[in-house]
């Protein structure tokens, strides 16, 4: 009980601390905005320490005389130790304008100015008293703003992402070991890299120990023992297997397996530059539980065939909307794009897309990297014509294959080019699947029912497909249904520039995108995760595509080794042609799929050789151990290690040797200490006193790399730091880092946190209302803001394009979601594209952002307004006070949204904040909860902004922001960038300087790369 009381007393202090940190600096920024010119001149910056101390002393004296009595008289009863109304307590405020109290002071000033506090039913201060209080607070904020920040260096833990990337780069391991780490909490600015919020607990530290152990075990190998490597290949093609498995294979309910003759599984001997043991898959099993249809069947049965261990499995093929989902031809397997299940069934499920091909198998390695190699090509395909397309009129040069007597015939194509194929059916055969062979190519599709058909000889032709044919003899074969065949096929040449010709050319230039997945089979489908990114398949010739991953990053089915259930513990390797928006594209032709794992390029692997590097003293000597430890620790600590550190680590090694641990295990012990030391786990900027100092060269190398790469510095940066040249080469290195692919790690992370994109991950979208906002589309929309930002940064575009632009950066899925008039032909890749639309361009109208700022059913102007105020113009509102009463439903029942907001705004206590939020949010009202523009909302989008400007809609707001308020937008961007880079909230004073510096880029239009450079050169970044 005693303890709780003590804690209770801590509470108000804590609240204020949190509040101070949370609310950021924006409230005061409102003030700053007014005095921008003043700060820009920088006339009163910086105050020196003596001035500041004197000013604070005077302030404190006045506080005791004039302010404290007023607070005691009018405020403390409700906002004191007993009541702490709204969690606010004023009796502990001091007269020195402490940084942690500034937001509370700002709040008090606002309440007092507006006359909102004290409440009407309480004793009211006189006008003079109000004035005195407000004046003192104004002075206090001024003093605080000019006060230099004490510089005590920084110590901040690596974020989970930084830790993961650092470990990966240090050890050369693909595997992600951080699964068990709790996610970092975001700071009020939205960043996880804030030193304040990056706390450490025994739980996290225990996880670091555990991860270090696992990662080192994975990195080191027993050099003397050749590795065991599993590898197999599945080749596909109709009738390819001369000795197919004679059993009827069943892999669970609704199992759809390729015919046994259409695939071959072999375990080829690998060609590796080192000795290894092939790990052949087990084929002999005895199971008691199996399935027959939907029933469990019990009874022991022995199996001994690789075809009871490796299956060729397809799921979800029936009902493909156009053509066959999967076709096996002599040359291999042809896959159409895998339509996500929700597009077909209207809800997400685990059965996976339609169709997806999977190798289902019993055994994969338990750890290490693996490679999947797929021999694939873009099929020389025919474009199936939609039902109702017009057949070609009779014309000269038409080639006709007469099939009335036989399903096969030969024709001669006179001229190479694009041909339309029209079909004349046999009388009385109005519908059915038509399979066509043209030479060694195949295409099949269900013919639409023929209206008014037709027993007459004058059968109507049905338009079927477009294809490109070479000149010369062509073997034609055609089947209707199981046994029939059509009467005639008519080949009509179309010119390249005709409408049909243009359509076909666009079709044949499109690429299928090959995606590879790994995971596990479940009775109700699969749990699969993509291996690397999908790859475009451009060539018509079979080419090898390689996908690599770390096996432990993928779900595994976890059964015991003595499992006796035929269906349990099945792994799956999925191979798909990726779906974008349903447009026609050539089929993905797969010839073979090969697996190798664990995959080693060399033996010992690179991860091992990075630790046990070549050296004249290589062996099991203490001397070599010392070299290994020094080198590893230097890379891990991102700086040279001190002699004391070296001795201490070598001491760990020696201690383990004394305890009879072998050489390698003893080295591992020392490295484990490295990986759990603060010098590895933290970014440290040491300080000798409260005055500002330059960050040391190695500290700068780390700061730069963690800012622009989200990972540890590379050798080049460390080298420059060691030579003390990094400060001098700051611009060149910044430019190099921005050109590096790792820069993408920064943009993804920064965009996601700055713009609160994670909100889209958690909002529950009403699927019935917004069926197009499927899970897959959401994932692409979530990428759009970062891809847009990447484009702006790469091209060094002016900052106004953050707000408004005549182009978007989209892939086929995002373009389809926006229903753009011009569709990109970029597959899954994001490319810039003119949108030609009034409702798009810039971040503010991106659907992923807007949908995240809804409740999944309705748009939400308050969320969107607060987001804009906070993120884009950095004029954040206060957090809602605790215990906010909900608007009474009955009071608001018959009011429009605008009226409801007004009602809310007019409530005492709400008014102050909402006046700074709602006007920014109303212009977004033309965009629904799914982020799509809807017309006819002119009445809802009108808004009078807090500064009195009237805007009619979001476009007007964009114009206003990108024009008159561009300085404020630039400041908002700078503030977030600098806060992210410094890893802490910036003080009022630092922000004021930043604003002033930023204005220097106004004349050049605020190019975004220059803004990044400005941050790199700013004091919060370079000083400690």
């Amino acid at each position: 009980m005693l303890v709780s009381c003590r804690l209770l007393r801590i509470r108000p202090l804590a609240t204020m601390l949190v509040a101070a940190r949370c609310c950021g600096h924006g409230i005061v920024l409102l003030l700053l905005a007014v005095t921008t010119g003043h700060w820009a001149r920088g006339a009163e910056l910086p105050a020196d320490d003596a001035d500041s101390t004197a000013a604070t002393a005077a302030l404190d004296a006045d506080f005791r005389r004039e302010v404290q009595p007023l607070l005691a008289k009018y405020c403390v009863r409700c906002h004191g130790p007993d009541e702490m109304s709204s969690g606010v307590r004023v009796d502990q405020l001091t007269g020195t304008a402490e940084e942690r109290h500034l937001n509370l002071w700002k709040g008090i000033q606002r309440q007092v100015d507006a006359g909102a506090m004290p409440p009407d039913d309480e004793a009211q201060p006189t006008a003079a008293e109000r004035k005195r209080l407000a004046a003192w607070i104004g002075r206090a904020l001024d003093v605080a703003r000019q006060r230099p920040r004490p510089n005590h260096g920084t110590i901040r833990r690596l974020t989970v992402a930084q830790y993961r990337n650092t470990l990966r780069d240090l050890l050369g391991l693909l595997e992600d070991f951080t699964e068990g780490l709790p996610p970092d909490a975001p700071s009020k600015d939205g960043f996880t890299g804030d030193a304040e919020t990056l706390t450490l607990s025994p739980l996290i530290l225990e996880a670091y120990f555990d991860i270090a152990e696992r990662a080192l075990d994975a990195a080191m190998v027993d050099e003397a023992r050749p590795p065991a490597i599993q590898s197999f290949r599945m080749e596909l093609g109709s009738g390819i297997n001369p000795e197919p498995c004679p059993d009827q294979l069943i892999l669970g309910a609704n199992s759809e397996l390729l015919p046994n003759a259409d695939f071959v599984v072999t375990e080829p001997v690998l060609d590796k530059p080192f000795a290894f043991e092939p790990r052949r898959m087990r084929t002999a099993y005895e199971f008691i539980e199996g399935y027959q249809g939907n029933d469990t069947v019990r009874g022991w049965r022995k199996y001994d065939s690789i075809y009871h261990s490796v299956f060729a499995c397809i799921r979800g093929t029936p009902g493909y909307p156009k053509g066959q989902a999967v076709a096996v031809v002599p040359q291999g397997m042809l896959l159409r794009p895998a339509i996500p299940s929700e597009e077909v069934f209207g809800q997400s499920n685990t059965y996976g897309p339609m169709a997806n091909f999977k190798i289902s198998l019993r055994e994969l390695p338990v750890q290490g990297n693996f490679r999947v190699r797929v021999r694939a090509a873009s099929y020389d395909d025919a474009l199936l014509l939609d039902a109702g397309s017009a057949p070609q009129r009779p014309a000269s040069g038409q080639v006709v294959a007469n099939l009335s007597d036989s399903a096969e015939n030969n024709v001669t194509i006179g001229e190479a080019g694009i041909y339309q194929i029209d079909v004349e059916r046999q009388p009385g055969e109005p519908t059915g699947q038509l399979s066509l062979k043209l030479g060694d190519r195949q295409v099949a599709s269900t013919l639409p029912e023929q209206k008014g058909a037709t027993t007459s000889d004058e059968a109507q032709a049905t338009a079927f497909a477009l294809t490109r044919l070479p000149a010369g003899d062509l073997e034609v074969a055609a089947r209707m249904g199981n046994e029939g065949h059509p009467r005639r096929l008519i080949f009509t040449r179309v010119t390249e520039d005709s409408e049909a010709g243009r359509r076909f050319r666009a079709f044949e230039e499109r690429r299928p995108w090959l995606g590879v997945y790994l995971g596990l089979r479940r009775d109700c489908g699969s749990t699969l995760a993509r291996v690397g990114a999908a790859q475009p398949v451009a060539r018509r010739e079979l080419t090898e595509y390689v996908f690599e991953g770390a096996i432990r990053d993928f779900p595994s089915p976890d059964v015991e080794p003595d499992n006796v259930n035929y269906l349990a513990g099945i792994r799956e390797i999925g191979v798909r042609s990726e779906y974008t928006d349903g447009r026609d594209r050539p089929r993905l032709w797969i010839r073979s799929i090969e697996f190798e794992g664990p995959f080693y390029e060399t033996w010992p692997p690179i991860s091992h050789r990075r630790i046990f590097f070549d050296s004249p003293s290589r062996g099991e000597s203490d001397e070599y151990a010392r070299e290994v430890i020094r080198r590893f620790a230097t890379r891990a600590f991102r700086r040279p290690i001190t002699p004391a550190e070296e001795e201490s680590l070598v001491g760990v090694f020696r201690g383990s040797r004394v305890k009879q641990r072998n050489f390698q295990a003893s080295v591992k012990d020392a490295l484990l200490v490295v990986l759990t030391s603060p010098a590895f786990l933290f970014q440290i900027e040491a300080s000798t006193g409260p005055q500002a100092e330059d960050v040391a060269p190695h500290e700068l190398a780390s700061k730069l790399a963690y800012f622009l790469w989200n990972t540890a510095p590379d050798e080049r940066l460390l080298e420059l730091a060691a030579r003390n040249e990094l400060h001098a080469q700051l611009d060149a290195q910044t430019a190099r880092l921005m050109r590096d692919p790792r820069f993408g790690q920064f943009v993804d992370e920064f965009a996601s946190q700055w713009l609160s994109l994670e909100k889209l991950d958690v909002v529950a979208i009403d699927a019935a209302r917004y069926p197009r906002l499927s899970r897959d589309v959401r994932a692409e929309l979530r990428r759009e803001p970062a891809e847009y930002l990447k484009h702006l940064l790469a091209q060094n575009r002016p900052l106004r394009e953050l707000i408004t632009s005549d182009y978007v950066v989209v892939n086929e899925m995002v373009a389809d979601y926006y229903e753009l008039p011009d569709r990109p032909e970029s597959g899954l890749a994001f490319v810039p594209l003119r949108h030609g639309r009034g409702d798009l361009g810039g971040l503010l109208s991106q659907a992923g952002i807007l949908a995240g700022l809804s409740d999944g059913r309705e748009s939400n102007p308050v969320k969107r307004g607060a987001w804009l105020a906070r993120k884009i113009i950095a004029e954040p509102p206060d957090d809602p006070p605790p215990n906010v009463p909900e608007l009474k439903e009955d009071a608001a029942a018959n009011l429009s949204l605008r009226e409801r907001l007004e009602l809310h705004r007019n409530q005492k206590g709400c008014a102050q904040c909402h006046a700074g939020i709602d006007p920014w949010g109303l212009p977004f009202e033309a965009y629904d909860a799914a982020g799509i523009f809807r017309s006819g909302r002119e009445d809802d989008t009108r808004s009078k902004l807090p500064d009195g400007t009237d805007v009619a809609d979001l476009n007007a707001l964009k114009t206003y922001l990108a024009g008159e308020r561009i300085d404020q937008v630039a400041f908002g961007f700078l503030k977030h960038l600098a806060t992210y880079a410094a890893g802490r909230s910036l003080t009022y004073r630092e922000l004021a300087v930043l604003r002033g510096e930023g204005l220097k880029l106004r004349a050049s239009g605020y190019p975004v790369q220059d803004l990044v450079r400005l941050v790199v050169h700013s004091d919060p970044f370079l000083k400690k």
Partner: protein
């Protein structure tokens, strides 16, 4: 109008989350309290739901859920054996996992104790952490074993037909043990060789932690005037880990509590003998492990979904005419009655367990009063993942107020789990998809 916030200990904790100095104090406080009173948790899962006979069959008295609600509820015929514990237990109706509605119904045992969205799994994920493992994470430093994971079948089964209800922090299934003798040997008979190896391992880890402490101290001295709060946090955490290792090593030497084991019959297995003998011995082992404070977290899967494993045949062994899975599908009067009779059998087993927990005493009350026992199923009737049969027993010293049958229509099972965690003095913000604690229920200190 003023809103004086009522503050409890948790509000304080949340408010303090960013303040590093206060945390060690709280942890110290938690440890002190926990050492006085072992707070324990035991999850008991039964597959395929319970008998809730159709109205047309005219068997209302055989419904597993009591007929009446509130304090005046009456035990049905299938829960009659639990009557002596009326003031130590409550029936909670209406609960469910929202994700359960969307998932394949065979997944209900996989997600019962985790609440994971298995209909839409996170890429790369298998499941998510189970309630017993969250408890274990917070209680392991006070006892010899973090947790005890038991099941009718050994191992893990497989996804959608799981053989264990316990999943670790990464969502990987924890293999269950099913053999009473092996469980006994592991819990009560550490052999010399394995103890020596265990000690060596602990000492080795302590040595490494010491080395890290040394390197951190050295670094601390180099930092000059730097703000050291973060490093203090690190050192405090390190100290905590070290003290846990030392505490673990102490257990090796500490003699086990002297107990009477004569009532155990360790030759019984799930395959041989009568089902009742098997369950009784397993429950006796759990009660002994609680009594000796060997572990504070137990998960026991009594039987498996969908006709998997040996437990499917138990009703036959008891003279009922269908297997467990088939009984659960029964819609006819005879079948539903037989299914209820199997519930009666399970109630007898649970009653035996509660009786044991009441016999053993801690310094402050009976073991039952210091333990929360959760008994339930992932389906109300087969494949119906709503209104999950749920019984909570024990924990009167942990703020639970019993003797009621409450309905929480459409409430989240995860909210119950969060309430259980809070009652065990585990300051979790949330569990799985919880939206808060269970309101107006049997928990008074959450």
């Amino acid at each position: 109008m003023s809103h004086a916030p009522r503050m409890d200990r948790r509000t304080v904790l949340r408010g303090l989350a960013g303040v590093s100095l206060a945390l060690p104090l709280l942890e110290a406080m938690g440890r002190e309290v926990a050492e006085q009173t072992p707070r324990r948790f035991c999850a008991l899962y039964t597959a395929n739901g319970m008998s809730l006979p159709h109205e047309k069959n005219g068997l209302p008295e055989w419904s597993w859920f009591p007929q009446k609600e509130g304090k005046d509820f009456e035990f049905g015929k299938s829960t009659e054996p639990l009557r002596p514990f009326r003031e130590h237990l409550s029936f909670l109706g209406g609960l469910h996992h929202p994700s359960g509605l969307k998932a394949d119904p065979h997944l209900c045992s996989d997600m019962w104790l985790t609440g994971a969205p298995l209909h839409n799994p996170k890429p790369g994920a298998f499941n998510s952490v189970a309630l017993d493992q969250v408890v274990a994470q917070h209680t392991k430093q006070h006892c010899r074993q973090p947790s005890l994971v038991l099941s009718i079948d050994a191992g893990v089964g497989f996804l959608s037909r799981t053989g264990t209800i316990s999943y670790n922090q990464e969502g990987k299934p924890i293999p269950a043990e099913n053999n009473p003798r092996r469980v006994f040997d592991r819990l009560f008979r550490g052999d010399r060789a394995s103890l020596a190896a265990q000690r060596e391992e602990l000492q080795h880890r302590t040595r490494l932690v010491d080395a890290v402490v040394e390197s951190a101290r050295a670094l601390n001295q180099q930092l000059g005037q730097a703000d050291r709060a973060k490093l203090d946090q690190y050192l405090t955490s390190l100290g905590e880990i070290e003290s846990r290792l030392i505490a673990s090593e102490k257990w090796i030497d500490k003699p086990l509590k002297v107990q009477d084991h004569s009532h155990l019959d360790l030759d019984v297995t799930s395959e041989s003998g009568r089902p009742g003998d098997y369950y009784r011995n397993m429950f006796d082992l759990i009660a002994l492990a609680f009594d000796a404070d060997i572990t504070r977290s137990v998960a026991f899967m009594l039987n498996r979904e969908d006709g998997m494993g040996i437990s499917d045949t138990f009703p036959l062994k008891l003279g009922l005419d269908r297997t467990h899975h088939n009984l659960s599908h029964a819609g006819d009067k005879d079948g539903q009655l037989a299914f209820a009779r199997y519930d009666l059998f399970l109630s007898q087993q649970v009653a035996h367990f509660l009786g044991r927990l009441q016999e053993y005493r801690d310094a402050s009350g009976t073991v039952l009063d210091n333990s929360i026992v959760l008994f339930g199923s992932g389906a109300s009737t087969t494949h119906n993942p709503t209104n999950l049969p749920t019984l909570v027993a024990g924990g009167r010293n942990l703020g639970l107020r019993h003797g009621v049958h409450l309905r929480h229509p459409h409430a989240r099972l995860s909210n119950l789990y969060l309430s259980i965690l809070r009652s065990l003095a585990i300051e979790a913000e949330s569990f799985a998809d919880s939206t808060g604690v269970l309101h107006d229920s049997i928990f008074t200190t959450v």
